[in-house]
Symmetry: C2
């Protein structure tokens, strides 16, 4: 057989960790703390069934035909109203419906990145974002948002956009404080650079009242409809159901127009059926009714995980107890511990974690691990941490 | 306000025709022959409602959680079985579920194109494919599949892939004959180049039995599971409902693995709900039961359109009566007629058609128009053609 054409170069940057992670799904009895999945107990199946039924029966043309590229107008209106507050006035022209948050990151890369463009990024950063932008091989300027010497103007000057997850960042679970949010927004206004506020975990506050969104902070200087530099990304994956694959981008109308061109190429439109169900889940109050149960479930799991970590890991790792989101970020006390190796040893001991290297654009950080607490029951979380302690000692013994 | 970062260069290749086309949707009383929409009468709403209901009620974990990146295993198995025939043995490893056919084209571009890569393409070619690959600015080698001097080996040598729509091509509605299919497959095997068989209209044969798929022709030389060079693209948009946004790529396992990486970045996975409904629509026989009604409806519309064209357009255009698909391609007899201008004049007369320029990678072909016959009732088709005749005479008078 003659040789086949080469695949695009970006595919050479294969990630062995991802392959190991995917293979882990097949190990029987494994406690998987490495993913980022919601608990499956949160879905009110009966209510969701009713919404699916009425979506097709009562709105066949909207659910079965092609939807408008930017999304169903009534869902765009609903999202615009849901986020409008104070000085922030949004209309449907500020809203594009996407196939989940992942597609939003993909479309932004498509309209803003050339080969070798500069991106300022909160670090460590969401793996899915880095994967999405890899085909354009961007140059990353890291921003450590909790560092004393953070200079967002320097980081953003000349960058195509800045990427942040202010609420319970993936992977670190950290919350960006109000003063830093304000500085990021001011820097975006000052430099003109787009500022991405990726917010999949914005509803998952377990202890405190939510912090102001950067989108809202930016509105003080922006017109109506909103015309500021913040690009806000939301999704139903955490508060409703990831299987719907519904997300939204809120941005200046100029940006929404450009993203529409990329969206049309990417998949023409998002499923009208899934959009109708999402609309009705918000309009009927179902999504808001679900939230207290989700928060109770995840808070109890967070507490169970942190109690088990306090018991089994204090001599091995340092970490902060997160006040929301889905993850704890733990850094090894002994710098000799290679967390890529710990992942492999963990699998031999029946527990899966995510190593820090996959959240580093350069792949160099082998110091830390990400632990998820939303998917497993409390019992399983305890078992997982016990196994992790054993695995860590084994990995250190060979280091 | 400081200047914002520039958008990616590919967005400069704006297409005024597309903007005109989108704006046309708002003209009251317009007969739109320019789109490519299915007739809305084809949907059995009651049956689809039942499938949506049971999808959530009986399969909540599959419909509401994240689906596997490559798709629900049972849907991949079903598609593999549906296309296996003769020497062609497919397994789920040959199948990736996508968000419609558009996403399939997008993912193929992501894994095979670098800046300036070479693509051999049937010409004129589907607008959505050209749009999708525009960010990589590929160099196109046109292939006129009906031409006597077609040399597919020369066209494919050194190309990353060849792009074809053998069944009732968009825009021309033409069917590629059996001998040419065989030559294309042989050229792909000989050169090693990937050969895309984009087949959204493969079920829409109104007069004759379907021709063999290039995927099947290629299997004589390929192993099991299929490992040949043909990449086959299917979709439910024409035979079930575009609002589900479900399509599939059938290819060698090696290609499916690489496409999975691109799919994961693009949107993580396709909606489990839409996949479950699609699975059940095939498994229960609903999709196959719908087909005779769809064919009867579209055949009658094709006949009504062609009769009106025979009555009103023979002195103005030449065309072939299509034996399937959704479009008639008509070429102006007078080379002075600019079909970009005809589109504008048509809108003034209450009819919208698609000009040939948008189907030409170079945008140079102003000779022809694409007319859709699946969306409008027979009465409206006749009205549309009457208006088109008037508009063409008006455009010629000013040319």
């Amino acid at each position: 057989m003659p040789q086949r054409p080469a695949f695009a170069k970006w595919l050479d940057d294969t990630n062995d960790v991802t392959a190991t992670f995917l293979a882990a799904g097949r190990i029987p009895g494994l406690v998987n703390l490495g993913g980022g999945l919601p608990g499956t107990e949160i879905w009110p199946v009966e209510d969701m069934t009713k919404l699916a039924t009425s979506a097709v029966a009562d709105h066949a043309d909207e659910t079965l035909a092609y939807a408008p590229v930017a999304g169903l107008p009534k869902l765009r209106d609903l999202i615009a109203a849901r986020y409008s507050e104070g000085d922030l006035t949004l209309t449907r022209d500020n809203v594009l419906i996407t196939a989940g948050g992942a597609q939003a990151l993909n479309l932004i890369g498509t309209v803003l990145l050339e080969e070798g463009s500069t991106v300022a990024s909160q670090t460590p950063a969401y793996l899915g974002a880095l994967d999405n932008w890899r085909p354009r091989q961007p140059v990353y300027r890291p921003m450590r948002l909790e560092a004393n010497d953070l200079d967002p103007v320097a980081a953003m000057t000349g960058a195509q956009f800045a990427y942040t997850v202010p609420n319970f960042s993936n992977p670190t679970g950290k919350l960006v404080n109000a003063a830093t949010r304000r500085r990021l927004v001011d820097a975006a206004h000052h430099t003109g650079t787009w500022l991405i506020e990726d917010d999949p975990y914005g509803t998952l506050y377990y202890d405190d009242a939510p912090m102001p969104r950067m989108l809202t902070l930016s509105a003080e200087e922006a017109g109506a409809p909103y015309d500021g530099p913040v690009i806000y990304l939301g999704t139903v994956s955490k508060e409703l159901a990831p299987g719907l694959r519904i997300g939204w981008i809120i941005a200046a109308p100029e940006m929404i127009e450009v993203l529409k061109a990329a969206k049309q190429s990417a998949d023409m439109c998002t499923s009208g059926l899934c959009q109708q169900i999402t609309h009705d889940a918000f309009a009927t109050g179902l999504a808001d009714d679900m939230l207290p149960n989700i928060l109770d479930l995840y808070r109890a799991r967070r507490d169970a995980l942190c109690a088990a970590m306090d018991e089994h890991l204090p001599d091995l790792f340092t970490w902060e107890r997160p006040t929301g989101g889905m993850f704890v970020w733990a850094t090894a006390k002994d710098p000799a511990l290679d967390t890529n190796r710990l992942m492999e040893v963990g699998l031999e001991h029946g527990v899966c974690i995510s190593p820090s290297s996959v959240f580093d654009p350069e792949g160099r950080d082998h110091s830390s691990i990400r632990i998820n607490f939303t998917y497993n029951t409390e019992d399983k979380l305890v078992t997982g941490i016990e196994r992790l302690a054993t695995a860590t000692r084994a990995a250190l013994a060979e280091a």
